[in-house]
């Protein structure tokens, strides 16, 4: 059952003389109880996408087209008050750099009380009890509820932010870079916790990250974003084992792995300026496999196998491209 659908969503930012198309036509279906990962480098629109779902973009941002449907109902057309009722209760967010998202002059318990009394209609007493339960769930001692944010370590603050997102039993959690800037051991704990919560409460998680190894062991589905569009999506195992889009192939080359000895290869060049009109494939300037058509026609995201989507003109040559993509010289051909 799909209960959050994003249909051809476009989120643009109004700049002085131009429009910056941060998210430019994204389709995504999220099923209940699933962990879906969205990966891509900075500036590819992944944070804007989730801000769009929550509708908390920067002031110059607006939804230019498309729709977000929650249980079949459009979240864009619904009234402000109705949307507010859904947010946090049904859809909660763990913000990026959540260690800085707690108010330094309030005790952490106050944040819990505020959310639960204002949104959840609970009394202060109930809220404190619930906060205590959540603290135990995320593995922090209840006694520390009355501490201030600066008394916690980075990993603990991250867990507080997760507990805060959970406090009204949401159905969907959107986690924007939840483990970036954390140590490996804490990162491991946070990921394990997300995994456990999913299996306990049938939680749906949207996990935004730039780190493939973070999604590899937690997610079921993966969407790879590049320059405001999804270039590949499908089952995580399929994508990581046999990527079909050259950008996904490049990304998996660029990662150091403890178990692999391959030489790392970077993707030269940078993301195109999204304020300009895009012609042809957005990845063409960095793609070592481009052919003539790539410069003139933008490839559509097409389902070429059941449940597997990719936006590339040469998607059927994947066997050959995967082989070629392993060579360093192939990627060096593209001038930086």
């Amino acid at each position: 059952m799909s209960f959050l659908t994003i249909e051809d969503l476009k989120i643009h930012y109004q700049l002085k003389n131009s429009v910056f198309k941060a998210v430019d036509g994204v389709d995504l279906t999220i099923k209940e109880g699933q962990i879906i990962g969205i990966v891509g480098e900075s500036g590819c629109g992944k944070s804007t996408l989730v801000k769009g779902i929550m509708q908390v973009m920067a002031r110059n941002g607006f939804i230019a087209a498309g729709d977000i449907k929650y249980n079949g109902e459009s979240m864009i057309k619904m009234s402000e008050s109705k949307r507010r009722a859904i947010l946090w209760k049904d859809i909660a967010m763990i913000p990026q750099a959540s260690m800085d998202s707690l108010n330094p002059v309030y005790r952490v318990v106050d944040a819990f009380i505020e959310v639960m009394t204002l949104k959840g209609g609970k009394s202060k007493k109930e809220a404190i009890v619930r906060a205590g339960e959540l603290f135990e769930l995320v593995g922090i001692d209840k006694k520390r509820l009355r501490d201030y944010p600066h008394q916690f370590s980075g990993g603990m603050k991250q867990r507080v932010a997760i507990a805060l997102a959970l406090c009204l039993d949401p159905k969907i959690i959107i986690a924007d870079e939840p483990v970036t800037a954390l140590d490996v051991i804490v990162q491991h704990q946070v990921l394990t916790m997300l995994n456990n919560l999913r299996s306990q409460f049938n939680l749906t998680v949207i996990l935004i990250t730039h780190d493939i190894s973070v999604v590899a062991q937690t997610c079921d589905e993966l969407a790879v974003m590049y320059a405001g569009k999804i270039v590949e999506k499908g089952n995580i195992r399929d994508i990581l084992k046999s990527p079909r889009h050259p950008y996904s192939m490049g990304l998996s080359n660029a990662f150091p792995d403890l178990l692999k000895n391959d030489k790392l290869i970077s993707i030269n060049g940078s993301v195109p300026n999204l304020a300009l009109e895009q012609k042809g494939c957005r990845f063409v300037s960095r793609c070592p496999f481009s052919v003539d058509i790539c410069h003139t026609h933008e490839p559509e995201l097409t389902e070429y196998e059941e449940g597997r989507y990719a936006a590339c003109h040469r998607v059927h040559d994947y066997n050959e491209l995967q082989e070629l993509a392993k060579g360093v010289s192939v990627w060096d051909k593209v001038t930086s």
Binding site: E41, S42, G139, S153, G154, D183, V184, I185, V186, Q187, H188, Q189, L191, T192, N195, H210, D211, I212, S213, V214, A216, Q217, T218, I236, R237, L240, K241, G250, L251, S252, N253, A254, F255, P256, D257, L258, L259, K263, L264, I265, S266, I267, N268, S270, S336
Partner: protein, 345 residues
Amino acid sequence: MGQSDFLIEVEDLKKWFYPKQSLIGRRKAPLRAVDGISFSIKKGTSIGIAGESGCGKTTTGKLLLKLYDATEGSFKFDGVEMNSGMTKQELKDFRRKAQLMFQNPYEALNPRYTIYQSLQEPLIIHKYGTKEVRRKKIINMLEKVRLTPVESYLHKFPHQLSGGQLQRVVLARSLVVDPLFLVADEPVSMLDVSVRAGVLNLMREVTSTMGLTTVYISHDLSLIKYLCEETVIMYLGSIVEKGPTDKILFSPMHPYTMALISAVPSSDPDVELKELNINNSITSADNIPDGCKFQDRCPYAQEICFKQEPLLQKTKNDHFVACHFSEEIGGKQYENRLCSTRSYG
């Protein structure tokens, strides 16, 4: 100069920070950031220092560059003792030979200096040649870090470059004075994934062609594996394990190293996320218990661990470990991460 094989020799080095004392009340215990570490680095090799945040790895890096004066212990650079009795000239000479590469390239460069000015600054400070010679040197250095065509970069400002290019400039600036020794503190953690690999490859190549001795500080073991021949694992200011990188990563002897390794996520979706067998909380460095520092997180801790601190001892193949039970623990068939695969459905 240059009599010994080792560029860096560190013996029982300590750095304690004393908290501000209040007028009344008890003397507070010092924060033992680095608490007696010993290691040496052979000329032209690279060593990685890994550990959690707060384990003292950055402090160690700063001690090696004399940005901090050690509280105790000896630190020899190229066979010469680096103590507080150095003259100004000696110190300046050392500053040229030992360079630091910063973590965040966006903040490491002066935004009002062009790339040329940024690279020229260290050369002026160390009174290197004439203007013409300096210019040649800078162009040569930028070519080495592959910022080509050089002419198009020389007069750009930092905000005009991408993160990967900036980190190349930062690397070039560290190397332009021909140092012998480089400390790189989390060199790529601020960079985008797609360009990380390029910077890492470049560092590997440039340091080996220039014959540099390098220290990489990172919490990312996969990065250390990629760059370093030797690895040092630190925990709360002490070295718990050191040795050749392959030995450390594939046959670790210390329970902390094992936990650290199994916490590293893999990009292989078939590898299962394993439960860690260590306790969550990190002991604070201002309240270190007697005995082994790792005692309260260690799943194998026994009576002796609470009483006596284990010393760093050599096992075999230059592999050192500080654990009372390293033989048994290391001997226990170390569970290879490859063995457990993730189940779907």
